[in-house]
Assembly symmetry: C2
DNA sequence: TAGATTGTTAATCGATTAACAATC
DNA sequence: TAGATTGTTAATCGATTAACAATC
């Protein structure tokens, strides 16, 4: 891609995608940046600027075709292809993620679930058996694994991430409470739940 | 609080808190903004600016006392007090959150877990029985509930949020895939997992 | 054509970084 | 005191908003 697009823009794309999906479900055929801006509580200017980072998806005097724009944003985000995901760490959160993401209509498919605890071996979560971590290299060899979700204790996160990268998995959805940003050749997306909760806590406290 | 502090700053505080906690565990007594900046891959200038939104916690020529700064940031975030949390929606994710957050040393305590599915009634998750949603008003009356985590289908999220606010709960940790930002008198913190996954997906796609 | 609305340039605003005087 | 490092002001950078010519 030619010019670097800021993460601020990228963070907004899934929200546009969601609103357009809802409009689509409601049978709305076209929408102007102005109408969309009112629904989403953002400026029309921002919507047009954001979209024009990727191309001209609208038409003067008409607005945007909902189905077309929805599909285009889907393409940009890469959700119109299937992405195979494995989950490392089959605790509560790992099992929830394994069961949860499948529900989304977007194209992420959980194909494996791993842990180190021998007591969990073979336990079924939905239609997936929990596998032991030493089966991971073979599994990756035999399956097209694109993303690994790390739902394991922070102590094991970094070494596991390094192992994943060496096995050829270059995208990590990190739920462990550590930063993995010094690992080369990998895209990291963090979900730090306790950070999120602290932010909430601050905003409550401030309000008083 | 006098001047409005931007959410960009607030978002960084939990990360400072985490790094200071680790330094504390490692027995480090003091640290300069410069040393901390190297560890965290941010600028020293940003650290000093961020902290000075809340007061002068350092000392010229010395730096920052780790224990003191850790504690002060904890106070700002409100994690040195206990916050009672209930979880609405006892599916996979709700059960995971109910079991998970308790593990954190920060002061969030899950005291109730609710669902509408009668089959789940009374089922124990850790030491909490799943209660039915119609027991919620009494529960809130008899307990000091500060935060509600919404881990339920998007279709029910808004009406549940409205009900919570009317019952006196003014902080929502929202895992449902909807925006609740048009509800008055409530602080919302969103965790949109599928948005996060899409962002990851974009960053993979871009890389290629 | 006239009206509507985009795509895009220009202006503004806010956040980040740099610089340095204050001070421990 | 001299050296180190903060707190804070000033400069820069980037993101958001406004404005409007292009055009459907």
């Amino acid at each position: 891609m030619d010019k670097q697009i800021s993460q601020a823009v990228i963070r907004r794309l899934p929200r546009y995608y969601r609103y357009l999906g809802e409009l689509l479900d409601d049978g709305v055929e076209r929408i102007s940046s102005n109408d969309l801006s009112k629904r989403m509580h953002v400026t029309a200017s921002q919507i047009r600027q954001d979209l024009n980072n990727f191309g001209g998806f609208g038409q003067q005097g008409y607005g945007y075709n909902v189905a077309y724009l929805h599909d285009e944003i889907g393409n940009i985000l890469g959700v119109n292809e299937t992405h195979n995901v494995i989950v490392i760490g089959a605790g509560n959160l790992g099992q929830a993620i394994a069961g949860y993401v499948k529900f989304e209509r977007v194209g992420f498919k959980i194909i494996g679930l791993f842990d180190t605890n021998p007591e969990l071996k073979g336990k079924m979560v939905r239609d997936l058996p929990i596998q032991m971590l030493d089966e991971l290299p073979d599994f990756i060899k035999n399956n097209d694994v694109e993303i690994a979700a790390l739902t394991l204790p922070k102590a094991n996160a970094k070494s596991t991430a390094l192992k994943l990268v060496s096995l050829g998995v270059h995208a990590i959805w990190n739920f462990a409470h550590v930063d993995l940003d010094d690992i080369p050749d990998v895209v990291i997306e963090n979900v730090h739940l306790s950070d999120s909760l602290m932010q909430l806590s601050y905003n409550i406290t401030k309000q008083k």
